[in-house]
Symmetry: C2
Subunit: 121 residues, 2 copies
C-alpha cells in the first residue's frame, strides 16, 4: 500500500526521514537475485543461451564458437560460467563436447527474475 508524502506541509527544520522505509527483501535475498541477474548480464552469454535455446538437443562448441565474436578460450570460459550457474549441461561425444540448455532450470530462473521485476513497475 504506497503512501504519498506531504512534503510541502512539513515544517522546515523537521527531519525529512519520517517514513522509515524498509525494503521488503533482505539484503541476502537481494544479493541472490543480483547474482542471478549477473549470470545473464553479458552479451556473449546471452548469445550462447540464444543459440542453445533455439537448437533443441545438442550443439557442439565449435558451433557456439562460430556464433560469438570472441576466441575459443573465452567461449569455454562463458560456457563454464553458464554450466556452474546450472543453466546448461554438456556431454562429451568422441572428441567433441555438446552443450544443451537445461530448460527446467532456465524456466525457473526466468520466473524468479520476472517475479523480481514485477515488484517494481
Amino acid at each position: 500500500m504506497p503512501r504519498t508524502l506531504e512534503i510541502v506541509d512539513r515544517q522546515l527544520g523537521e527531519r525529512c526521514c519520517d517514513i522509515n522505509a524498509r525494503p521488503t527483501r533482505s539484503y541476502a535475498e537481494a544479493t541472490k537475485l543480483a547474482t542471478e541477474l549477473e549470470q545473464l548480464a553479458n552479451p556473449v552469454r546471452l548469445q550462447l543461451l540464444d543459440v542453445l535455446t533455439r537448437n533443441e538437443g545438442r550443439v557442439c562448441v565449435c558451433d557456439l564458437e562460430a556464433a560469438v565474436p570472441v576466441k575459443q578460450p573465452t567461449v569455454s570460459h562463458h560456457l563454464r560460467l553458464l554450466r556452474e550457474a546450472g543453466l546448461i549441461e554438456s556431454e562429451k561425444v568422441g572428441q567433441w563436447v555438446y552443450y544443451r540448455i537445461k530448460r527446467d532450470e532456465a524456466r525457473a530462473l526466468r520466473e524468479r527474475i520476472q517475479n523480481l521485476l514485477g515488484a517494481f513497475a
Copy 2:
C-alpha cells in the same frame, strides 16, 4: 522451430558443426540487453528500487541510507547510476533531496527484459 540433431547417425570423423547455429540477436542487441541487466544486478540497487517502488511519491536520501547496509557515499553512487539509467529522478527540497521512481521507464525496462527472458525458457 527447434531442430533435433541426430548425432548418433553421424560418421566419426565428420565435422561436428553442421547446424551453422546463429544467434537471433546481434552482438549489439545482446550488449544493450546485458547493460540493462547489469543496471539491476546489484543488491543495493535492488533494495533502493524496492523502497522507491513501495513509497509512492518521494523518499529522501537519509531514508534510503537507512534502508541499505552501505555508507552514504555508496548510496549516493548507486542513486547516481540509477538516475543515469533513467530509472529514477530526484528533486531538491530545502537541504534534502527526494528521489522517486520513474514508473514508465521502469515498466519499459521490465518489458524489455521479459521479452529477452521469453527467448530462452
